[in-house]
Each structure stands twice: as structure tokens, then as C-alpha cells.
């Protein structure tokens, strides 16, 4: 059985969990077994929200609803998931390679002595053993990782597989699991309100030093607002405090893998590319035709962002008006 850990935050199932379930369901199909989800903690409108996980391919949802799971503690979660794995007899466990997955999947791997493929980008190849393709060298290459243990753990890179909608409703099974005594107290949770979190964004508009100053960020924001994208920036921009650090993408900032990465006036140093090269479509606007970013781009305009961007925003508005 394939058990997918479906992470919740503040009572809502996280978006990446739907993709993880879609991925786990596909693995289950290949292995001729079922895909079942595991949810820890309080979920709003639980009976509807959990049954709805069937739409992504989960036949059953194991729900340990103890409110002690509402605040995250990697140690507490790991103990509970290990118990659920044992109770359900799962032999493949799927996480999303998010902040939660990165904290829990390695702990579970060490606890169960079950091999982990961290940051998977494809389905396992079971023709000869159990081999999972994962991203390495910050997106510059892939490795085929063979898992040799009876229980296999995979954490899936967000947006690497996509959400696959199906028909169906999941059976909900209450799981009588109590959290172990945790050693971490969550004092505050601060989420950036009103904007799309960068790590979850399907569309990202990013600006570089070529925009000359924070007062020119409307060139990034106008397009982002028009298409519902998150905004990001290069390291130079974050270091100059033109934009907050959490917007910095690149080797030492965050890595993103959106459907669209739209880079405005960013030259495309190799360290920046390392953070964005898993994007499905890359657009580069730069006045320097020699900017290295063009080599990594799918579409580009050689031109001055100050002139080009307002025209692009107008063109998008026009396209939307025409439907």
C-alpha cells in the first residue's frame, strides 16, 4: 500500500498534498495496490475536506484528529507517522518535499531504516528494483536513486508531477493516535497575507538589479497583479534591501519550480539559475542580448524593461478583455 502524508496547516490541507496524492495514486496503480492518505491534526469541515482527497486518487484517508498535532513538531509527527505506517502496512510512503516533508521524511527514514529519495521529480521505475529520479546539483542534473529497503520513502519536489483530478470520494478512517510529548513549542506563525507564497506559486515575476531601484518595482508588480503571480527577486536586489529576503530566489535563496518564471532585468548568473531552472517556462526580458539568462530561457525580449513591461501589461489586459 502507498501511504501519502497529506499535510495540513491551520485546518486546511496544503496544496502540495493534492499533488503528492496524485503522485502516490499513480505509484499505487503501477504496483497494483491502493493509495491511502494520512492526515494529522484538526481539519476544517473534515468529513467533506477529507472525502475530497478521493478526487486525487486516495481510496482511504487515515485521520488522527488529536488537536495535539495542530502545532508542528518534527519529532512528534515522525513518531505518529511511523505508527501509522506500521498499523496500515504501507510499503511506500510519499511526502511533498516542502518545509514539513524536509523535516519529517529524513527522520522517518532513520527511524524505520527505510531508504529515502528526497526531492523526487519522477515516478519510480520498478522494472529492476525501485529507482527514483531526483534533482541534484541544484537542478543542474538528475540522479537515479535506488532504494534497497523493504519500505520506501519518497519526497516529491513540488510542481514536479502536477495535480491529476479523478472521480471518487475517499473513505475516512479515524486513527486513534496520540501525540508523544513534544519538546518544541510553537510561539508564533507569521504568514505573508494577501499574496501568493513564492514556494506555492505557479506563476512568478522576478526583478533584478537592472530595474535600478525599489521605486521601479511596479514594473514587476503590475504584471504580477494582472496574472495573479507571486513576485521574486535576484540576490543583488535582496542584498540591497530593495525587496525582502524571502523573495530572493537562487542558489542561496529559495528555489522555485513554477509553470512560468518571468525574469525582468536579471542577467542570469549561474547561482540564480540554480534556483529557477526547474521552472517549466522561462521568459527573460533584458536589454543586454549577451545576458546569460537568454541561454536558459524559452522566450525572450531583448529590450529595455522600462519600455517593454508596460506594453506587456497592456497586451495581457487586452487579451483578458477579449477572453
Amino acid at each position: 500500500m502507498v501511504l501519502i502524508f497529506a499535510d495540513q496547516s491551520e485546518g486546511q490541507i496544503k496544496k502540495q498534498a493534492y499533488e503528492a496524492i496524485s503522485y502516490g495514486a499513480k505509484i499505487a496503480e503501477a504496483l497494483g495496490t491502493t493509495a491511502e492518505a494520512l492526515v494529522l491534526g484538526t481539519v476544517d469541515h473534515a468529513s467533506e475536506a477529507l472525502a475530497a482527497l478521493g478526487k486525487y486518487g486516495a481510496s482511504k484517508v487515515h485521520h488522527a484528529s488529536d488537536a495535539g498535532f495542530d502545532a508542528f513538531d518534527a519529532q512528534v509527527y515522525t513518531a505518529a507517522i511511523a505508527d501509522a505506517v506500521a498499523a496500515s502496512g504501507a510499503d511506500v510512503v510519499v511526502f511533498s518535499h516542502t518545509t514539513t516533508g524536509k523535516a519529517v521524511a529524513p527522520r522517518l527514514s532513520a527511524r524505520l531504516k527505510a531508504g529515502l529519495a528526497a526531492g523526487a521529480v519522477g515516478l519510480p521505475d520498478t522494472s529492476n528494483g525501485f529507482v527514483v529520479k531526483k534533482s541534484v546539483f541544484s537542478g543542474k542534473a538528475f540522479a537515479q536513486v535506488g532504494i534497497q529497503t523493504a519500505i520506501k520513502i519518497i519526497s516529491l519536489n513540488p510542481n514536479a508531477f502536477g495535480v491529476k483530478l479523478k472521480e471518487g470520494s475517499a473513505e475516512i478512517a479515524a486513527l486513534d493516535l496520540k501525540p508523544i510529548a513534544g519538546k518544541v513549542t510553537v510561539k508564533e506563525v507569521n504568514k505573508v497575507k494577501g499574496t501568493v507564497p513564492l514556494s506555492e506559486a505557479e506563476l512568478v515575476i522576478s526583478g533584478g538589479r537592472g530595474l535600478k531601484g525599489p521605486e521601479n518595482w511596479f514594473l514587476v508588480e503590475d504584471l504580477a497583479n494582472e496574472i495573479g503571480a507571486a513576485t521574486a527577486c535576484s540576490r543583488a536586489v535582496a542584498d540591497a534591501h530593495w525587496r525582502p529576503h524571502h523573495e530572493h530566489v537562487g542558489q542561496t535563496g529559495g528555489a522555485v519550480a513554477p509553470n512560468l518564471y518571468f525574469a525582468i532585468a536579471i542577467s542570469g548568473a549561474i547561482q540564480h539559475l540554480a534556483g529557477v531552472n526547474r521552472s517549466k517556462t522561462i521568459v527573460v526580458i533584458n536589454k543586454d542580448p549577451e545576458a546569460p539568462f537568454f541561454k536558459a530561457a524559452d522566450y525572450g525580449i531583448v529590450g529595455d524593461a522600462f519600455e517593454v513591461m508596460p506594453k506587456i501589461v497592456e497586451a495581457v489586459k487586452k487579451m483578458k478583455a477579449e477572453g
Binding site: G119, Q148, K187, V189, Q251, K280, F294, K295, V316
Partner: protein
């Protein structure tokens, strides 16, 4: 409070990524190696700051690798740290490496184990969590800030779309990223003193390996950029809508 900082050797961020031996090994020829930036810039420097402020009494570096890792360990010692331990093992997966670090951490009675948030070569983000589980310690991953008051820790960590502030007591394992500290450039005094700092070589403990890399591959070459004239932004929007289908 004693801190153990995990140091990994990785190719330089600008290194050409290529493979040899039928795509089974990273091509090291001509590649410059560095201390994994997350380990050096954030984990190590924050540990040094804690020692400078009196919150920590000692900072020890640990690396799992062969003798050819010694120059990298010395480079980290030039930035700071009292001494270093190298577990003499050249093969093994994340679990193998984590098991070696956990054994040393347990034997040495360290209060804090710091790692970088991931290495820039394998990007597993796994060592910290595995060490924490092997030692049955709390684990805060992707930390952007850490303050210590005695053994009481206040740690800020990244979550999807924001951050979370946690409190806990040492002993604990923390994975560190941007925000924890600022990169330090080693000075001449540091480089000179690094040569004489103790570097202890230990034999590995016996551990199983759970995974192995079967092969590497490079991503398919990009088809090449499709350039649109600066006078025709409508064409770019059309391509994104109709061809790439992203907007």
C-alpha cells in the same frame, strides 16, 4: 554549551556539472571544491557568533569523507572553530553519513548539532533530520534565526508562505539557512591558526546503506530561446497563452 557543526565538501557553485564512468560518477577533474555554502555561511558562522557572545563554549567541526577532504576542513577552520573531526569514510548515502555524525555527537556530548539546510550537490536536506532521529532529539529545519539564553533556544524557521517562531531547549539539531548569519571571509590570522588546530581522524561505525545512486543524467538541452521583438510584446503574450499555455 558545545556545538558540533557539520561540514560537507561540494563542487564550487560555478563548477561545470558532468559525469564519468558511464554516468555513475561526478567528473571531479578540474573542479574546484568548497565548503558547502549553507554549512559555512550559516551553520558555522552562527555557531562562532554564539561562542563569541558567550552562549557557547566550544565549536567543533565534523566531516565525513576521505583524506582529500582535509583542505576543505582546514578552510572551514580558517573561518573559525576550535577543532575538527573527520570520520574516515568515502562511500555511503545520507543515512550512512548521518549515522557517523550521530555517533560522534553522542560520544562527544554536544548540546547543539548544526547543519546547512542542504548540500548544493545532492540537495537531499536529510542529514539534520536523520541525526536528530538517531539521537532522539528535537529538530528545527530551515532555520533563519537562532537565539540562545543558556540552554533555552528561540528559533525562527521557514514555513510555506511565511515563518514560524519556536522555543525549545538544547540538546537539539538545527538546519541553517540564509538569515542565520552573514558569510565571513577568513583573515590571515585565521588561515595561519587553522593549520595547527587539532583535526582528529576517526574510523566509521558500522552502518547499513539504505539507498545508492544508480546513475546520473544531465537535463535535455534547451531547444533555444524564442526571441520576440521589443516592438511586439503582444506576440510574447500570445505565445505564453497559446503555445506555452501558462497564462
Amino acid at each position: 554549551m558545545k556545538i558540533l557543526v557539520c561540514i560537507s565538501k561540494t563542487p564550487d557553485t560555478t563548477a561545470k556539472i558532468a559525469f564519468t564512468d558511464n554516468n555513475s560518477k561526478f567528473a571531479e577533474a578540474g573542479v574546484q571544491f568548497i565548503v558547502n555554502p549553507y554549512d559555512e555561511w550559516y551553520a558555522l558562522v552562527r555557531a562562532l557568533e554564539l561562542k563569541e557572545s558567550g552562549a557557547a563554549t566550544a565549536v567543533t567541526l565534523i566531516n565525513v569523507g576521505g583524506a582529500d577532504n582535509d583542505p576543505i576542513i582546514r578552510k572551514a577552520l580558517a573561518i573559525g572553530g576550535d577543532d575538527a573531526i573527520r570520520v574516515n569514510a568515502t562511500e555511503g548515502d545520507s543515512f550512512y553519513v548521518a549515522s557517523q555524525i550521530a555517533a560522534v555527537a553522542k560520544e562527544g556530548g554536544y548540546d547543539l548539532v548544526f547543519t546547512g539546510k542542504e548540500t548544493i550537490d545532492y540537495n537531499n536536506s536529510s542529514i539534520g533530520g536523520m541525526v536528530a532521529e538517531l539521537l532522539d532529539l528535537p529538530y528545527i529545519s530551515l532555520a533563519t534565526k537562532l537565539e540562545a539564553d543558556g540552554s533555552n533556544l528561540t528559533v525562527t524557521r521557514e514555513i510555506e508562505g511565511g515563518e514560524e517562531v519556536d522555543t525549545l531547549s538544547a540538546p537539539a539539531v538545527i538546519s541553517c539557512q540564509k538569515g542565520m548569519a552573514e558569510q565571513r571571509i577568513p583573515n590571515m590570522k585565521g588561515i595561519m591558526s587553522a593549520r595547527t588546530k587539532p583535526l582528529t581522524v576517526k574510523d566509521p561505525v558500522e552502518t547499513e546503506v539504505l539507498t545508492s545512486i544508480v546513475a546520473f543524467e544531465l537535463p535535455p538541452a534547451k531547444a533555444g530561446v524564442k526571441l520576440v521583438s521589443a516592438d511586439e510584446p503582444e506576440e510574447l503574450v500570445r505565445l505564453l497563452h497559446e503555445e506555452a499555455k501558462v497564462i
